[in-house]
Amino acid sequence: MNAIDLAARVRRGEVTASTALAESLSAIDARNDELNVFLHVDRDGAEARARAVDDAVAAGRDPGPLAGVPVALKDNLCTRGVPTTASSRILEGWRPPYTATVVERLVAAGAVPVGKTNLDEFAMGSSTETSAFGPTRNPLDPERVPGGSSGGSAASVAAGMASLALGSDTGGSIRQPAALCGIVGVKPTYGLVSRYGLIAFASSLDQIGPFARSVADAALCLEVIAGHDPRDTTSLPEPAPSLVSHLDDGVAGRRVGLVSELVEGADADVVAQVERAAAALEAAGARVVRLSIPELRLGLSAYYLIAPAEASSNLARYDGVRYGRRVAADELGAMNEATRTLGFGDEVKRRIMLGTYALSAGYYDAYYGQALKVRTRMIEAFRQAYEQVDLLLGATAPSVAFRFGEKTANPLAMYLSDVFTIPTNLAGEAAVSVPFGTGAAGLPIGVQLLGPGRSEARLLAAARVLEVAS
């Protein structure tokens, strides 16, 4: 059942949160061993939450807009007392002493967090294959990846294990798995959602957002988690936008730009669906123009300097001194080295080395400094595009879900999975992936709608048009 209807029925007392949770837990029990979606299921915590929601309803109190909705949390979101690993051995066994702002807001709205989902280690990857705890399988075809890095969260919603899930999107980590799993994923404007409690990968790019089976559910979830948080200075000062009330605004009169760089190199089945989406928007009253933003081609290379540079610093704290895993050695430097050697996987090490190099004296200007300039150009290019159009349209991912091992041998091929999603992160803007038709092997395809900062209401209304037309 979708989240909006479930919450409405729980609030009216027609169904209990405990019943909804039981359904969620039985879906998890049925397939989690096969799919490896959850790293940790918080049965006791979830059952207590569900009972609290039911008690509130029984006492005539309103538990909130997400009353009784089972939600899954990407395991890079801190949850007090509940294991949080970022899918890394280095954090194995760590239980945070505090809870992320987004999780607090979900719970305050009546939602019931059921557990922590698998991800690429420290969110570095596009297939969930870099997780230290094994890959997650795509519920639609267990021989294929669910995408990543938020593969577990996407799979949990696609497999009916949770009505909603939270992920984080640094270069496409919500939108790409949403596309590969056939669900809706939103990458909000940078600063719209508090990052407090999100284990950082690349701080200037990371943003938390929802996965849902419908555009309306995604809008409701985003409304709940958005809004200023005094614990995150980079969070926008404005209150959360109203999204659900604009869902039926449609696209009549909207100017939509179909961007050639956002379909370039995509498989034919993907391109065909993007074209069909453009036609659907036109049929709903939008005016579609074709345009080119050549700067978008620079996104991937700039991203693979900026994100690793920030990561190399963000991940320095995992040294075995204070928390998480420690590999004993005779002296401090050796202990740090042994801990990090055994604690981090290959992809994480690769990015720490890339980032350390990019920031080093003598290389900074040529690499990191240059990437910052590209980022500025990207922001300017988007700004100019949004003088002509209200929204941009393109593919979310170049292909449908790929098979395990297909891209693990070639990091660059894996990095190309995010070529269409990265520019939005560099610009700090908003984008939505919405399922639209199917492609090879009957697997779902996601199309991507992009908008300027704080354009979520406009984007979700357009996504709703595609959802209906699909």
């Binding site: 949080t84 990052r195 409690g197 200075t233 320095a316 204070r322 080093s360």
Partner: protein, 474 residues
């Protein structure tokens, strides 16, 4: 300093700010608590935590900037990356190319001026204790870390290489300390580590370009600062005169042996990989805020010193020292009050730097009016110097008006004819001394004053006694 050589010194002073809470979280900024009791996810750098800048720390940093005549400008934060176990995130949040304060100066009491290159905000690290014989991280059997200090706000004040002697370096730090205390931003306690100094020292022949410098660490007092700089300059001169060259390095001062030794050479210096701190937004205090902070600044020690010295003609070294005591204890108002009332500023300065300064918290009870009143009674001869000091002591202990103390103590001085009688008695009783005094041995006046005081239980005015003695001498 060896003839024909000149030393060039620049100082980096770190001061902890006296905020109630840390720079990026709400943990208490308090020295001396049980280890790891003032910690939270933010200052422990736990995964997912984020820094939030302390507004009060920004105000204090701006105060320091204004007090040092700096340009106070919009600034940014950077990460300084290096691994050390007392630094929870393995990077320090600091300011790099755009510091909050830049291009200022500090005038020293000797009339010299030292440029201030920058005074920027950053977070402190935790404190390590290394167990084992070495006392340092290397070779320690066990290391313990207290993170109470991690995230405490610091301002690092970097001077220009304008200092030319160890004594001037000491003067600079002493004056800077007074300025920091005056702004309210620092308690200036070197012994608790809330004020820490590193010295960059090089030598050259006058007129030549700067030589290669060494940075001296572990300077925990003004005394070690002065000794270490002198030692280091001599070491460099000797090295060059022996045909060697100074190597750029960081050196450790050993207070016990009185020598500096190599900690690390420049080739081993870390690459800090500075980049903008993405978790913090730019710091751009608006003009109104900056104006408010500047306006709230009390007068600085330099200005106050000039104002106090203005009352004195050609001040002696002792008077200059008294002025420093008055400045340090914030007692200027007594000297100014007396001088404005037309009383002798030298006496007022002496009474303030001695009697008033000696009374703990006495200044809270002694009004300027009562102080001036007491000095006026002394000047008019109604009180002897001894009596005036006693009156001040009572006022400092209990407050009140000098007239009441005088009445209670019965300090009504002898009328001059009665005093004349006492003087005559003393002359009669001390014939030999009188004869020598009469023959011109003025030193004996003190003897007679003493005798008269003894007979009057201190109620005579010393000056009046001398006048009577002179008149008797004829």
């Amino acid at each position: 300093m060896t003839a024909g050589w000149e030393m060039v010194v620049g100082l980096e002073v770190h001061t902890e700010l006296r905020t109630a809470t840390k720079l990026f979280c709400s943990c208490a900024n308090e020295f001396g608590a049980a280890p790891n009791t003032h910690v939270c996810p933010v200052c422990l750098g736990l995964p997912g935590s984020l820094p939030v800048l302390n507004e009060r720390a920004v105000e204090m940093a701006m105060s320091i900037g204004f007090a040092l005549h700096c340009t106070v400008a919009p600034s940014t934060f950077h990460r300084k990356n290096y691994f050390y176990p007392d630094m929870p995130k393995n990077f320090q949040i600091s300011q790099y190319d755009l510091p909050i304060n830049s291009s200022g100066y500090l005038d020293l009491p000797d009339g010299s001026r030292v440029g201030i290159e920058r005074a920027h905000l950053e977070e402190d690290t935790g404190k390590s204790t290394h167990l084992g014989t070495s006392g340092r991280l290397h070779g320690a059997q066990r290391s313990l870390v207290d993170y109470n200090r991690a995230g405490v706000p610091l301002v690092e004040i970097v001077s220009a290489p304008d200092i030319r002697s160890a004594a001037q370096a000491r003067l600079y730090v002493a004056e800077l300390r007074r300025v920091l205390i005056a702004t309210g931003a620092s308690d200036g306690r070197m012994e608790e580590g809330s004020l820490r100094v590193d010295a960059n020292v090089s030598v050259r022949r006058p007129g030549e370009p700067f030589g290669t410098r060494c940075e001296i660490k572990n300077l925990n007092s003004l005394r070690s600062l002065q000794r270490a700089i002198d030692y280091e300059a001599d070491r460099q001169i000797e090295l060059i005169e022996d045909g060697g060259a100074v190597r750029q390095e960081t050196r450790h001062w050993d207070e016990t042996t009185g020598v500096t030794s190599t900690m690390r050479v420049k080739e081993e210096a870390e690459d800090y990989r500075y980049f903008r701190e993405p978790d913090l937004v730019d710091l751009a205090p608006d003009e109104a805020w900056r104006d408010r902070v500047a306006a709230a600044l009390p007068p600085m020690p330099g200005v106050r010193r000039t104002a106090l010295l203005q009352h004195l003609e050609d001040p002696t070294d002792a008077q200059r020292e008294s002025v420093e005591v008055v400045l340090d204890l914030d007692l200027d108002r007594y000297v100014h009050g007396a001088a404005e009332a037309g009383l002798d500023a030298a006496t007022a300065l002496a009474r303030t730097a001695n009697e008033v300064a000696a009374a703990e918290e006495g200044a809270e009870r002694l009004t300027v009016e009562a102080f001036v009143g007491t000095l006026r009674l002394e000047a008019s001869g109604q009180l002897s110097a001894t009596q005036a000091k006693t009156v001040l002591a009572d006022l400092l202990a209990e407050g009140g008006a000098p007239e009441d103390v005088v009445a209670r103590r019965g300090f009504t001085q002898l009328a001059s004819d009665a005093l004349g009688g006492v003087v005559d008695e003393v002359i009669a009783a001390n014939g030999d001394e009188w004869a020598r005094y009469r023959d011109g041995d003025d030193k004996l006046a003190q003897f007679f004053i003493g005798q008269v005081m003894a007979r009057t239980r201190g109620q005579a005015n010393g000056k009046a006694v001398v006048e009577i003695l002179r008149s008797r001498r004829g």
